[in-house]
Structures are given as structure tokens and as C-alpha cells.
């Protein structure tokens, strides 16, 4: 797939609890619980339901969260993880 758009799960489907440096996320649509550490929460907060390409996401992360040193390969891996667990859909 050439340049997919990554979309967040619906906000109403997420129940989020902050625990020290992790967040616990209950995903109502799946019934699954995920424990996420940076930069996953930041990625989720930035993506939104409209969707962003990986390049656009990288740019926004750099601007809003000062995550400029997150290299492309690492970002791709984090996105793959979020897609695999169902919190993000790639179209």
C-alpha cells in the first residue's frame, strides 16, 4: 500500500487512565486493554479520526510534542504496533 492514512479509533470507544509514565487504554469496541508508553499516546492524540499519512504525522509530532528525534523507522514500527492491536486502522 503506497501511502496509507492512519486513523485513530473513535474517541467515544476509548477509556483512558493515566498511570505514572504509562496510560492504560480500554478499547470498548474490542474489549481489549492496552498499556501504552511514549510515543504511542502522543501518536494517538495527534492522529485523530480523520487520518494522517506517516509523513504528516511525523511533522505534527515534531511541532506539537517536540518529538523531532523520532526517526522514520521507529515511527513506522510504532504505527505497525498500534495497527496490530487495533487502536489504529490503516487505509
Amino acid at each position: 500500500m503506497p501511502d496509507p492514512l492512519y486513523r485513530m479509533a473513535r474517541a467515544e470507544a476509548l477509556r483512558i487512565v493515566h498511570l505514572d509514565s504509562f496510560i492504560a487504554v480500554f478499547h470498548r469496541d474490542s474489549g481489549l486493554t492496552h498499556l501504552l508508553a511514549a510515543p504511542a499516546p502522543e501518536i494517538m492524540a495527534t492522529l485523530g479520526e480523520a487520518g494522517l499519512s506517516r509523513a504528516a504525522l511525523a511533522a505534527r509530532l515534531a511541532a506539537e510534542f517536540e518529538l523531532a528525534d523520532l526517526d522514520d523507522a521507529a515511527l513506522a514500527e510504532r504505527l505497525d504496533e498500534l495497527v496490530a492491536c487495533g487502536l489504529v486502522a490503516a487505509a
Binding site: 500500500m1 470498548r28 469496541d29 474490542s30 474489549g31 481489549l32 496490530a84 492491536c85 487495533g86 487505509a91
Partner: protein
């Protein structure tokens, strides 16, 4: 008053006429609940009895059963969604079978139903592409045994079972609804052509085809294990969609007799009764072979049906070879 019968007909009576349950004593309730659990129908029972003035213990147990069934459906429908995401790049819709279809489409047959694996139907021509897409999306093979794999691929109506490595849930990918070795060969292409959309990228069989599949699953594919739930599915489908055009559709798939029997049996158990043949009575005995402790009873009847179901799936010579090989490779 209380329990007049101590086999599956107790459960059937309560599902057919929920008000009967008010006459149960503690022992009767205990037996009914054990039976319902053993038949995977406690969620269904809980919904049927909703609103009745139940004893406190029972009300609590059934409330928990309803919550459990509801959460189970969330998980099952999520498997549907993840399968849809995995197959979307192929342009292949997910055609759901059995419980997942009933739940996804909000059918009566899905209410309170426990759902196990995800069963989907795909065209024979696309099975390799579907297999590759699922493996890429995190599903893995369950069985490493090479013989079983060759047998499955060559003769069965589905891929060998796949399980998702993170979520630990199974998916069964079918390309027809009976094994290729079976004496009856339904029209798989027609099942797909007549399928009905439930949502974007998700479909189910047409109502008559769902009934044909339920009958095929019950008689020609299985040994009638799980028959009480299967016949409840048939009963709900008939109630919701009626039987117009069903006989013709069943005949087209070569399953006329099986479907007619399924309709008679579900009417006898859950509906307004039916005129039963001697063969029907034998099936009912098998289907209701469950006692008040949830144990399967009537072992001779069950064995007869197990042998019969294998005979239906495989010609005798192949069956002998299959059982010989399995016996040879059995551990210990």
C-alpha cells in the same frame, strides 16, 4: 410440578414457554442451569426468562450470564472487524457464517448467543490470497501436523484452523459449507452471489441459505453435538424470515431432506410441534442426550451418530485410510 423430564427437553420447554420456569423448585433450577451451560445456551435462556419474577439466586446467575454473553459478542464482533481490515486490501468482503453473522446483523438468532470461532466464506479461487493476508495480519496455524494439513487442504471445506497470535482467537476460512468428500455438494458460488450486505465490507448469507447451512452443519457435517443450540438457530431463523422459497433453495444445494428434518425438529423442540418420522425421533434422542448435571448421556446413540457423520463426510475406503493413519500417529 417441577421437573417432569430430566433430559434436554427440560431446557427446550423453558425456552419455548418461559412461564413454565416459575413452577421450578431449587432442584429443577439447578438442573436447568447445568443443562443450559452444557449446551452453551445459558445466555439465550437468560434473555428468554428476562422479566419473570425469578428467585434471587437464579436472577443473579442469569444476569451474570447475560453480561457474559454480551461481552463475548463484543469480542466476536471485533474479530469480524479485524478480519475485515485484513481482507479489505484484497477487495474481498467478509461473508460471515453462523453466530458471528447472527450477531453482526442483529438477528433474533444472535440474541444472547455465545459465539466461538469466527467462520467466514470466501471463493475457492481466492483462498490462497486470503490465507496470505490473514497470516500477514497476525494469524498463525494451530496444528503443525503435516498429515492433517494435507488432508485439510485437499478434502475439507475450510483452511486448517488459524489462531491470532495476540488475541488468541480462532478463524475458520470456508470455501464451501460441506467437505469436498461429502456425498452432498452444495453450490458454494451461489451462496456468495446471493449473500446480503450487513455493513461496509461485511456480508452474510441470504436467509434461506443460512437455514440450509444450519441444517448442513447439524446433520451432514456434525454428529449432532451442539444440536440444541443449532436447532434454536433454525427456530429463530424460521420465526424471523419464514420458510418461503426454502424448500427450493434446499433442493438446489442437495440438502432438501436435511433442511426439512431440521425444520421439523426445531418445531418439535421449540415451536408448535411437528409430525415426526422414526428417524426424527432418533435425532431428537441424540440432541436431548443431556442430564441435570450437564453430562452427555445415551452413549450408544451418540456413537452411532459419530460413525454416521464420518460416513457422510468420507467415502468408506478413505475413512478407513484416514482412521488408520491417525491411529498410527497417535502419541503414546
Amino acid at each position: 410440578m417441577g421437573r417432569a423430564v430430566s433430559d434436554g427437553r427440560l431446557l427446550a420447554r423453558m425456552l419455548r414457554t418461559p412461564g413454565n420456569a416459575l413452577a421450578l423448585d431449587a432442584a429443577g433450577w439447578t438442573a436447568l442451569l447445568a443443562m443450559a451451560r452444557a449446551e452453551q445456551m445459558i445466555g439465550t435462556l437468560a434473555l428468554r426468562l428476562d422479566g419473570l419474577a425469578l428467585p434471587d439466586d437464579v436472577a443473579r446467575i442469569l444476569a451474570d450470564a447475560r453480561a457474559s454473553a454480551a461481552q463475548g459478542q463484543v469480542a466476536a464482533l471485533w474479530e469480524v472487524e479485524m478480519a475485515r481490515r485484513a481482507l479489505a486490501p484484497l477487495g474481498e468482503p467478509v461473508v460471515l457464517l453462523k453466530g458471528s453473522a447472527f450477531a453482526a446483523a442483529g438477528l433474533r438468532a444472535g440474541e444472547g448467543r455465545s459465539i466461538g470461532d469466527l467462520d467466514i466464506l470466501v471463493p475457492w479461487a481466492r483462498i490462497d490470497a486470503v490465507e496470505a493476508a490473514l497470516l500477514a495480519a497476525g494469524w498463525e496455524w494451530v496444528k503443525p501436523n503435516a498429515y492433517d494439513d494435507a488432508y485439510y487442504r485437499q478434502w475439507m471445506h475450510e483452511l486448517p484452523p488459524l489462531i491470532h497470535r495476540d488475541r488468541d482467537r480462532m478463524i475458520d476460512v470456508h470455501h464451501t459449507i460441506l467437505p469436498l468428500t461429502a456425498r452432498i455438494t452444495p453450490d458454494a458460488a451461489s451462496l456468495l452471489v446471493n449473500s446480503v450486505a450487513i455493513g461496509p465490507g461485511v456480508r452474510m448469507l441470504a436467509p434461506s441459505d443460512m437455514l440450509v447451512h444450519a441444517a448442513a452443519h447439524l446433520f451432514a457435517d456434525g454428529d449432532l453435538a451442539g444440536g440444541m443450540r443449532n436447532l434454536w438457530d433454525v427456530h429463530c431463523l424460521v420465526e424471523q424470515f419464514g420458510t418461503a422459497g426454502l424448500a427450493e433453495r434446499a433442493a438446489h444445494h442437495g440438502l432438501g431432506a436435511a433442511v426439512a428434518r431440521a425444520v421439523r425438529l426445531s418445531a418439535a423442540l421449540y415451536g408448535d410441534g411437528a409430525a415426526l418420522t422414526p428417524g426424527d425421533h432418533a435425532c431428537l434422542r441424540r440432541v436431548t442426550a443431556r442430564d441435570g448435571w450437564g453430562r452427555a448421556t445415551r452413549p450408544v446413540t451418540r456413537l452411532a451418530f459419530y460413525v454416521r457423520s464420518h460416513w457422510l463426510r468420507m467415502p468408506p475406503l478413505m475413512l478407513a485410510r484416514h482412521l488408520w493413519t491417525k491411529w498410527r500417529t497417535k502419541p503414546d
